[in-house]
Symmetry: C2
Subunit: 185 residues, 2 copies
């Protein structure tokens, strides 16, 4: 006789990360401290198939992703940040895929601009042009570079907002703070 | 009978770039417009032996170098900028080599900090730490990454100075301008 509803839900206790299929990929590389570094994040994302049919994330992109969410400035990432990252990444992948209609793995410069506008960034044609030039090779942007671009744009906008306390669209930086914000992403 | 001192100096007219051995590498890839893009800069620097015994510059580093000196925002580089770049690069190589005593091709984090101080940047331990984490892999910094770090630090400091007109150590950025400055380097 089975006691319906008795016992722990399959896969562990409620709220425990063991339930989450992503936790397997994470814990396999995280080791005892429960944190992953950029090269371990690269392994995690490759093994969990996050880049889909696109080429795996570069170490550079992985370092940017860690820095984007690294609130305690340790240079590593815990499971909760990893989970948050995979959600953000899935959103960016969906956006990229919607523009990469021929599944070539890259989008055109003007499509990057449309994607950035769709994500809610209100930028001048000059700023769009800077971004397009920085991330395109022969006029096209690879998925990997698209993600680097999204990570930096999000992190820089976050940092700017924190300093634009009056929401005026202007922020004042002290030199050392400016270097910390801009050199780490 | 030879007319001593007669005729043009070997290699062309005085002041003409043809005299410059670097011009050969530059003109071979520049084409008719006299400008080189990031991938062409990579070729130029590899062929002219600028990285010495270190591994060739990545495309990422070459894009940063072009952006650092790209005053007209074309995304390309003329011969005079190329020459200016090689002089700056030689300085950075000399600094790096002085710390890379065992010629391993990499330096330690604290040596990067010393190098940055020696170059005249006055940064807090927190800022140094951000930079070290961003550019090191397993605690060491490769030559290629060292150059990327120097390029960005120089360009960001330049941009900051232009906006810190009162030399107070503080600068105010409008959001769109902040994104242009930080996303292009």
């Amino acid at each position: 006789m089975a006691y319906q509803g008795y016992g722990a839900p399959p896969g562990g206790f409620p709220g425990m990360p063991q339930q989450d299929p992503l936790y397997g990929y994470f814990s396999a590389v995280a080791g005892q401290d429960g944190q992953i570094s950029a090269d371990e994040l690269q392994q995690c994302l490759t093994q969990s198939g996050m880049s889909g049919s696109y080429k795996p994330f570069s170490l550079e992109a992985c370092r940017l992703m860690i820095n984007m969410l690294d609130r305690d400035m340790t240079g590593t990432m815990g499971f909760h940040e990893f989970k948050e990252l995979t959600q953000v990444l899935n959103g960016w992948k969906a956006t990229f895929t919607s523009y990469d209609r021929d599944h070539s793995g890259s989008v055109e410069g003007h499509e990057l601009q449309q994607a950035i506008s769709t994500m809610g960034y209100n930028l001048s044609p000059q700023a769009m042009n800077c971004i397009m030039k920085r991330y395109s090779i022969n006029g096209r942007i690879q998925f990997d570079e698209f993600v680097s671009c999204c990570v930096r744009l999000r992190a820089l906008t976050d940092q700017f907002r924190r300093r634009d306390t009056s929401h005026s669209g202007n922020a004042t930086f002290q030199y050392d703070d400016f270097i910390q914000v801009t050199m780490s992403i």
